[in-house]
C-alpha cells in the first residue's frame, strides 16, 4: 500500500490506462501543457505526446462532441472538464449523443467515453462554480455516474470507467484532491462499477453518503459511537447503476437510515435512494428515511454562509439521533 493524494491516484490511473491501451486518449482545457488546472494530468503530455494528451480551446460542447465521434469510431476518449460546472455547456453531447447513441443506433455504436473532472462544492467560488449536479446525469438511462471518496476508490474506479464500453460521468470532488489515503500496489488494481462499499460497519443506523459526505459521515459515526449509537456508513461509489442491494441489506439490519449529500434535496440522488428503500424495505423501517442535503439555495459566496449551506458532521449526528429516537 502506498500513501498518496487523490490527485496522485487519479494521475496513476490515467497513466496506467494510457499505457495499457493506445486507443485511450485525453482531451480538455489545460490538460496538456499546463498539466491540468488541478494537476491531475501532470506529466502525461511528456510521456504520451500531443496526439494522446490534447489541449482544447474553451469549447465544452465542441470537444465533448469530438470525443463522442472518436468513441463511435473505436477510440476511448477521456474528456476532462475543468470543472463539472462547465459540463453544463456540453450536456447536449453528453445526454443526447453519448447516452443515447447505443440505443438509437440499434446497438451499432457503443460509446466508450469518460467525462471527468472536479465537481461538488469548492472553496468560495460562489453559485456558478460550486454545485453538485450528479443527479442530472444519473437521471438519464445510458450514462453511468461515478463519485469516488478515497484515493484508492478513485484509482480503481477510474480505471474501470475507462475500460467500460458505456459513457461514464466521473465526478471528482474539488475539495478532496489533496486528501490522502492508501492505494493498493497491485499491478492492475481496479474496482468494479456498480458496487457499493461499506466504509464502516454498525448496527443501529445506516448512513448512506457519497463523495465529500463520506468523511463527514465517518466523523459523525465516530461521534455517535461515543454516544452509544453504532452507525454503518455505506458509500455507493457508483451512483448509477446504484448498488441498491447493499443499502437494503444494511437497512434490514439497522432499520434506520440517514442519507447525506452535498447536492440540493429536490429531485436529488438521496430522494431516489429513499424511494428504493421505501419500495423494498418498508417493513424493516423503524423511522422515516431522513435526508441531510445541501441548502436549497444557490451556493453563497460568503464563507460563513457557504459553511452553513454544506451538510456538517453536527447535522448528520442530529439526523441519526432523530431516526434512532434519541432526541
Amino acid at each position: 500500500m502506498a500513501m498518496m493524494t487523490m490527485r496522485e491516484a487519479l494521475n496513476q490511473a490515467l497513466r496506467e490506462e494510457l499505457e495499457r491501451d493506445e486507443n485511450v486518449f485525453l482531451m480538455g482545457e489545460e490538460v496538456a501543457a499546463y498539466q491540468g488546472a488541478y494537476k491531475v494530468t501532470k506529466g502525461l503530455l511528456d510521456e504520451f505526446g500531443d496526439k494522446r494528451v490534447i489541449d482544447t480551446p474553451i469549447t465544452e460542447l465542441g470537444f465533448a462532441g469530438l470525443g463522442v465521434g472518436a468513441a463511435m469510431v473505436g477510440l476511448r476518449p477521456i474528456i476532462e472538464f475543468m470543472t463539472f460546472n462547465f459540463s453544463i455547456l456540453a450536456t447536449d453531447q453528453i445526454i443526447n449523443s453519448a447516452a443515447k447513441m447505443l440505443y438509437m443506433s440499434g446497438g451499432q455504436f457503443k460509446i466508450p467515453i469518460v467525462f471527468r473532472g472536479p465537481g461538488g462544492s469548492a472553496y468560495q467560488v460562489s453559485s456558478q462554480h460550486s454545485q453538485a449536479i450528479e443527479s442530472w446525469y444519473a437521471y438519464f438511462p445510458g450514462l453511468k455516474v461515478v463519485m469516488p471518496s478515497t484515493p484508492a476508490d478513485a484509482k480503481g474506479l477510474l480505471k474501470s470507467a475507462i475500460r467500460d464500453d458505456n459513457p461514464v460521468v466521473f465526478i471528482e470532488q474539488e475539495r478532496m484532491y489533496g486528501n490522502k489515503g492508501e492505494v493498493p500496489d497491485e499491478a492492475d488494481f481496479t474496482i468494479p462499477l456498480g458496487v457499493a462499499d461499506v466504509k464502516r460497519e454498525g448496527k443501529d443506523a445506516t448512513i448512506v453518503a457519497r463523495s465529500l459526505m463520506v468523511p463527514v459521515a465517518l466523523k459523525a459515526a465516530e461521534e455517535l459511537e461515543k454516544q452509544g449509537v453504532s452507525c454503518e456508513v455505506i458509500d455507493p461509489r457508483t451512483i448509477r447503476p446504484l448498488d441498491v442491494e447493499t443499502i437494503i441489506s444494511s437497512v434490514k439490519k439497522t432499520n434506520r437510515v440517514v442519507i447525506a449529500e452535498e447536492s440540493h434535496p429536490f429531485c436529488g440522488v438521496a430522494a431516489e435512494i429513499s424511494a428504493e428503500i421505501n419500495e423494498r424495505a418498508f417493513d424493516y423501517l423503524d423511522a422515516p428515511v431522513r435526508r441531510v442535503s445541501g441548502a436549497d439555495v444557490p451556493m453563497p459566496y460568503a464563507k460563513n454562509l457557504e459553511d452553513l449551506a454544506i451538510p456538517s458532521v453536527e447535522q448528520v449526528v442530529k439526523a441519526v439521533r432523530e431516526v434512532a429516537y434519541l432526541d
Binding site: 432499520n255 418498508f282 417493513d283 424493516y284 423501517l285 423503524d286 423511522a287 429516537y325
Partner: protein, 438 residues
C-alpha cells in the same frame, strides 16, 4: 400527561382479561412500576404494573368484569388534570361523568347500588354488560395507531396487541424498542389470594314453573379458554382413536424397586409412562409432530404435556426433553410443576408448546377414556387405571395387572398404522422396561 391503562397481554394465548382485584382505588397515588391490579388471564393470575405515575383518576371496569386486550380500563393522571376527552374517546362506561368535575365520581357509586334482591341483581348485572359492549366497539375504531412499519411487523410476529402498548416515538409512535421492551418484560405471575375468589352466586328461580332452580356463576377466564380451545380441537381436527391393553406387572415391579432404593423421592407409574412415551416418540418422530398451515412440523425433542387437574379447570405443564431425563428427575419436575399449577404460579412458557400430552385418570378408577387433543399437538394419550384381571397365558388363566391406554390422533398428521406402531413400541417398553435402556 395522563396515562391510559389498557388491558395488557399477559400470556401468549390471552385475548381478554378478567379484572380480579384492583390494588389501588380511585384517588390513590400511583408510581410507575407499582402493582395496579391483578388480572385473571386464561391461565394464571398476573399482576399488572402501572406504566405511568400520578393519581389513579378513574377505574373503568369493576372487579369481576372482563375486557379485551387493549381496552382502556383506567386512567392515571395529575390530580387536577382534565381527562374528560380521554374518557369520552374511550367510550366511557359512564358517559354522564364526562362533563362533570371530579366529585362526580362518588355519584356513580350511588347510581348502581349493590342489590341482594335476586331479580334486582339480574337487572343491575345486565346494565354494565351492555355498557361494556359499547365501550368495546368504540375502542376498536378509536384513535388511529401510530406505529413504525418495523414495529408493526414485529408485533404481528410476536402476537402482541399494539393497542396494549404505549409508543415512545414522536407523537406516541410505537417503535422497535417499544416492542422489544414488551417482549422483554415477561409478565411475572402473581399469587392468587384466597379472598379474591368471587362469592357464591345466589340461586335463581327458573322461568318455567316446576323446573329446577339454578345459579349462573360467571365463567372464569380459564374456563372460557378451555371451552374455546377444546371446540377448536374436536371440531376442526379429525380425531381417531387407538386403544391397547398393556400388561403392567414388570413396570409396576420396576417402579417398586426404584422406590425401594430411593424412598425419599418416589416415582409414580405416570412418571414412568411419561418417560416411555418420550422414548417411543423418538422412535416414531411422525407422531412427535404438529399440523401447520402449509407444513407438518416435526419436533426434535419430546416435550410432554402432563394434564393436571386444578380447581376450576385443568392445565398441562410440560416436562421438556423428557426423553433425555431420568424417571426420578421427571417425577420431581412433575411434582413441582403440578404444585405450582395448583397455586397458579406457572409461567406461560411452562405450559405452552408441548409436542405430545399424557392425561391420566387412573387415580379416579377410570378404566379407559378418550382425551381431546391439545392443539397444535398431533396426539394425546389417555391412560386408564391399572387393575388385576384374569388373562390367558400359555393356555392358563393367570392374573395380570392390566392398563388400557387410548391415543387420540390428528389424522392430518398421523395415519392409523403410524399411530399403531407408536403404541406398539410404547406397549413393548412398558411390558418390558429393560427395553428403555436398549
Amino acid at each position: 400527561m395522563a396515562t391510559q391503562v389498557v388491558m395488557p397481554k399477559l400470556s401468549p394465548t390471552m385475548e381478554e382479561g378478567q379484572l380480579s382485584r384492583w390494588l389501588k382505588q380511585e384517588g390513590d397515588k400511583v408510581a410507575m412500576g407499582e402493582p395496579l391490579a391483578e388480572i385473571d388471564t386464561d391461565k394464571a393470575t398476573m399482576e399488572m404494573q402501572a406504566l405511568g405515575s400520578g393519581v389513579l383518576r378513574k377505574i373503568l371496569i369493576q372487579e369481576g368484569e372482563s375486557a379485551p386486550l387493549g381496552q382502556l380500563i383506567a386512567v392515571i393522571g395529575e390530580p387536577d388534570e382534565d381527562i374528560s376527552a380521554l374518557l369520552s374517546q374511550a367510550g366511557s362506561a359512564q358517559p354522564s361523568a364526562e362533563s362533570k368535575p371530579a366529585p362526580a365520581q362518588t355519584e356513580e357509586a350511588e347510581t348502581a347500588p349493590p342489590s341482594d334482591n335476586g331479580a334486582g341483581a339480574t337487572v343491575a348485572a345486565a346494565q354494565p354488560a351492555e355498557d361494556k359492549s359499547q365501550a368495546e366497539d368504540k375502542s376498536q375504531d378509536g384513535g388511529r395507531l401510530v406505529v413504525s412499519p418495523l414495529a408493526a411487523r414485529m408485533a404481528a410476529d410476536a402476537g402482541i396487541n399494539l393497542r396494549s402498548l404505549r409508543g415512545s416515538g414522536p407523537g406516541g409512535r410505537i417503535v422497535k424498542r417499544d416492542i422489544e421492551e414488551a417482549l422483554k418484560s415477561a409478565p411475572q405471575p402473581a399469587a392468587r389470594p384466597a379472598e379474591a375468589r368471587s362469592p357464591q352466586q345466589p340461586t335463581q328461580l327458573p322461568e318455567i314453573q316446576g323446573a329446577s332452580a339454578y345459579r349462573d356463576e360467571p365463567m372464569s377466564e380459564m374456563r372460557r379458554v378451555i371451552a374455546r380451545r377444546l371446540v377448536t380441537s374436536i371440531g376442526p381436527i379429525p380425531h381417531f382413536f387407538l386403544t391397547t391393553e398393556i400388561e403392567m406387572d414388570r413396570a409396576a415391579e420396576a417402579r417398586r424397586q426404584i422406590n425401594e432404593a430411593n424412598p425419599d423421592s418416589k416415582i409414580s407409574l405416570n412418571d414412568l409412562i411419561i418417560k416411555v412415551a418420550a422414548l417411543s416418540l423418538l422412535q416414531h418422530p411422525q407422531v412427535n409432530a404438529s399440523f401447520q398451515e402449509k407444513a407438518i412440523r416435526y419436533y426434535e425433542s419430546a416435550d410432554i404435556g402432563v394434564a393436571v387437574a386444578i380447581e376450576d379447570g385443568l392445565i398441562t405443564p410440560i416436562v421438556r426433553n423428557a426423553d433425555k431425563k431420568g424417571v426420578r428427575q421427571i417425577a420431581s419436575e412433575v411434582r413441582e410443576l403440578a404444585e405450582r399449577a395448583r397455586n397458579r404460579k406457572l409461567r406461560p412458557e411452562e405450559y405452552t408448546g408441548a409436542t405430545f400430552s399424557v392425561s391420566n385418570l387412573g387415580m379416579f378408577g377410570i378404566d379407559e377414556f378418550t382425551a381431546v387433543i391439545n392443539p397444535p399437538e398431533a396426539a394425546i394419550l389417555a391412560v386408564g387405571a391399572m387393575t388385576p384381571k384374569p388373562v390367558v397365558r400359555d393356555g392358563e388363566i393367570v392374573v395380570r395387572q392390566l392398563m388400557r391406554v387410548t391415543m387420540s390422533c390428528d389424522h392430518r398428521v398421523i395415519d392409523g398404522a403410524t399411530g399403531a406402531r407408536f403404541l406398539q413400541t410404547f406397549k413393548q417398553m412398558l411390558e418390558n422396561p429393560l427395553l428403555m435402556i436398549a
